[in-house]
């Protein structure tokens, strides 16, 4: 019974990791270094909470998708800032997205102490979402909610898109060989990268609204223990493949849930998990390089 609950917890933890993992994997696959999943998630959570606390009595069937959509759109817009800076001013997205991460953190802090603060004005958080707006639990007795299913389904959709659609092929081509894609394939590389960037932000924003709708039911500071950064490890370990992201996300979910348990039981800091995650990225890099095969898209745009 305990294991069942723990597994449920691990999958709950895995949900935002899968979604942000997909976001990062998608972007990296097209050669866009979106390190901003963290900020996009926060913005998505904020939008979702803002809409949710202002929604009247609307049936779940409409309201829940509305909340999720709000999160996705907000995340897409947040990524869009970096995408525009990249397109118009050739600003390296790795810097701009990290800057936007910090801006998002402070923006959330401002919102939960100001415009979005709960009515009593005591706690730095929004009002809690009413029951009908919360994502339904799918496994009785656990906290596992619909968001997990959404994440898995999206992963499958993405995998299918890569393999069977022209658009998915374009994304892969742009990441694997930018010049050939432009010259031999007549692909509009800038437009493809731009769209991927926005979609990546939308996925991360969706992760935020899923967290709010399924776990926290409100917006507050530190709502994310760094999901957006862990997502990088999740994506890389999965070799940027959507279906593998599911497994990778679950693995990290187990790792982090276990780490929290270890901290409770034995006092080992839970930050050990992030340590292991970073080490894993390096291992993947090292193995990929020493084996000589390129594990990742090798194209990179030059500076400024």
């Amino acid at each position: 019974m305990i294991e069942y609950i723990l597994l449920g917890d691990a999958l709950v933890r895995a949900t935002p990791l899968i979604l942000t993992g997909l976001a990062v994997a998608l972007a990296f696959r097209a050669g866009v270094f979106n390190i901003g999943a963290e900020g996009q998630l926060l913005v998505g959570a904020a939008a979702s909470a803002a809409v949710g606390t202002r929604l009247g009595a609307i049936p779940s069937v409409i309201s829940i998708p509305l909340l999720l959509l709000a999160g996705a759109v907000a995340g897409g817009i947040w990524a869009g800032i970096a995408a525009e800076l990249r397109r118009r001013f050739a600003v390296l997205e790795i810097i701009s997205t990290i800057m936007l991460n910090f801006i998002a953190i402070h923006a959330v802090s401002f919102l939960v102490r100001g415009p979005l603060q709960e009515p009593t004005g005591i706690y730095p958080q929004t009002e809690s979402l009413s029951d009908i707006l919360q994502l339904p639990i799918i496994a009785r007795g656990t906290r596992l909610h619909l968001g997990f299913v959404i994440a898995v389904v999206l992963a499958c959709v993405l995998a299918w898109t890569y393999r069977y659609t022209t658009m998915g092929f374009r994304v892969r081509a742009v990441g694997a060989g930018r010049r050939a894609a432009a010259s031999a394939g007549n692909i509009n590389v800038e437009r493809t990268s731009y769209r991927v960037f926005l979609l990546s932000g939308a996925l991360a924003g969706l992760a935020g609204s899923v967290e709010v709708g399924g776990v926290t039911f409100a917006l507050y500071e530190n709502i994310s223990p760094g999901y957006g950064y862990t997502a990088i490890a999740v994506a890389l370990i999965a070799g940027l493949r959507p279906l593998a992201v599911i497994g990778s996300g679950i693995f990290f979910g187990i790792l982090e849930t276990g780490a929290t348990a270890l901290q409770r039981e034995f006092g080992i800091p839970s930050s050990t998990a992030s340590l292991i995650e970073a080490l894993l990225i390096l291992v993947v890099l090292g193995v990929g390089k020493t084996r000589g095969a390129a594990l990742l898209p090798t194209w990179r745009r030059g500076f400024a």
């Binding site: 069977y164 022209t166 374009r170 060989g177 031999a184």
Partner: protein
């Protein structure tokens, strides 16, 4: 090999050099002996190992086996720095200069201690007094022409008191006039006691300008001889291993009046990457069923070809192009193929630019297989990645892919560069076949011989104008250099 006459040791001697790159044997017991005061040509097909051998001599890599001797003393170079100190200088095929820096800074590279512009300028003065070669030390290298950059590489070697000068394919990027200038410089250097190693695949250059020649084939030493004792026939037999293949040349098609125009350009202007005008308000046409060669200096053709293939827009003027155009660029590794993609995926690449909807992989796989079959691409199957194919097979594949769309026009850039003679012949015959089937073919080649052999007519780009001439060597050279040769 000639016995060494006299007491002077050869300036440079390479004995029994072997080098592997993974499983590939690039050099197998190769040797070279260069006497002092001579110009020595190192001849061989593309891929024979000439550049590898000299890079080893210059310390850029170390051999698996063999010895290097300078002036009779054995050397063990662990870096080019030591080779430079021993008196070697190398002028690389794709220049090893840094465009963002100045002439003086490029000459100073590799030095030690504090750097002063004045000291370098003084050294350049001294070199200029000795050899007559001079460049402004403060000039930015990015502003220099190809000929000037080559001069800089030579000056740099002289500034380090090089006694043995190695030049790697020095004539590919130059116009004939500059080539003559270069060889007279080298001749002067040799009469002064210096030694020159001329790496080239061009028989004519070797016979006309070298004292002795050594031939390499597939990484091994084949022969060495005095050039006065050699003929084009004997050298090409040594280089290729067989007698010259009978050239399968189709009779030249009569002027294609009446054939419809497939590509037409009206009052078009094009600039190159540096912003200089390379085509100025020119007009031209390409017709169905003809092969048009393009001759140009120093990269003036790149923009022209890309406008013709619809990849970029001209800066001014109108271009009318057919819907489907095949394009085979010079740099297939970066521009034509995605190396990590399979052959099938590379075929899908051609139509990936537009269109939504689903990809029918079965159909594409079949298309890929038919390309592989009809263009004789050596590969285990269509699911191998493009990177695993050899250069010649990659080129065959790219050509096949571009022709698979039945384009009305085919544009190629140096289509046989770096390929061995078999692959080159195969490419040429496919190009001719496309022409016979009615495709309009345009190709640029930096190799005048290829232009003469393959083209029905040649467009010469010179000072912004385009002139159409017959495919004859002298005629092309004349227009290219805007000079008139005096006819006897």
């Amino acid at each position: 090999m000639d016995a060494v006459v006299g007491s002077t040791a050869p300036a440079l001697e390479l004995r029994a050099i072997t080098k592997h790159f993974g499983a590939v044997r690039a050099l197998d017991n190769a040797s070279l002996t260069v006497k002092k005061g001579t110009v020595h040509a190192l001849l061989g097909e593309n891929g024979a190992g000439k550049t590898t051998l000299m890079r080893i001599a210059f310390g850029l890599m170390s051999p698996d086996a063999g010895t290097i001797l300078i002036d009779g003393k054995a050397m063990n170079f662990r870096s080019p720095l030591q080779a430079i100190e021993a008196g070697l200088g190398m002028v690389h095929q794709e220049f090893s200069l840094i465009p963002a820096l100045s002439v003086a800074e490029n000459v100073a590279l590799g030095g030690r201690g504090s750097y002063s512009f004045e000291k370098i300028a003084a050294r350049l003065e001294e070199v200029s007094r000795r050899t007559g070669l001079w460049l402004d030390p403060a000039a930015g290298v990015s502003k220099l022409s190809n000929a000037e950059r080559q001069k800089l590489e030579i000056i740099r070697s002289f500034s380090h008191n090089a006694r043995i000068l190695i030049l790697d394919e020095p004539t590919t990027a130059l116009a004939s006039l500059d080539v003559q200038e270069l060889f007279s410089q080298l001749r002067a250097f040799a009469s002064d006691g210096g030694s020159v190693v001329l790496i080239t695949h061009k028989l004519r250059d070797a016979i006309d300008n070298a004292d002795e020649v050594t031939v390499l084939r597939s990484g091994s030493f084949v022969m060495t001889a005095h050039t006065r004792d050699s003929s084009v026939a004997s050298l090409s037999e040594a280089t290729l291993g067989t007698s010259l293949p009978a050239v399968n040349r189709r009779p030249r098609v009569a002027t294609v009046t009446g054939s419809r125009s497939v590509i037409s350009m009206r009052r078009v202007s094009i600039r190159d990457e540096r912003g200089t005008i390379v085509i100025n308000n020119a007009s031209t046409e390409v017709h169905a069923g003809e092969i048009v060669g393009v001759a140009a200096l120093e990269g003036a053709a790149a923009g022209f070809l890309r406008v013709l293939s619809g990849r970029i827009q001209p800066d001014a003027g109108e271009v009318s192009l057919p819907e489907v155009i095949g394009f085979v660029p010079e740099n297939r590794h970066d521009d034509a193929l995605i190396p990590t993609f399979t052959l099938t995926e590379n075929v899908a690449l051609r139509s990936a630019g537009s269109g939504r909807g689903l990809i029918d992989w079965t159909q594409i796989r079949q298309l890929a297989q038919s390309i592989v079959d009809s263009f004789d691409v050596r590969t285990p199957d269509v699911q191998t990645t493009a990177a695993e194919l050899s250069g010649g097979n990659q080129q065959r594949f790219v050509l096949g892919r571009e022709l698979s769309g039945h384009p009305a026009a085919l544009v190629l850039e140096n289509p046989t560069q770096g390929l061995d003679v078999n692959a080159a012949t195969a490419i040429h015959s496919k190009i001719r076949a496309a022409r016979d089937a009615g495709t309009a073919v345009v190709f640029y080649s930096s190799d005048l011989d290829e232009l003469v052999e393959l083209a029905d007519r040649v467009l010469v780009i010179q000072s912004g104008t385009i002139t159409s001439v017959n495919p004859e060597r002298e005629r092309i050279g004349e227009v290219l250099l805007a000079t008139k040769t005096t006819r006897p």
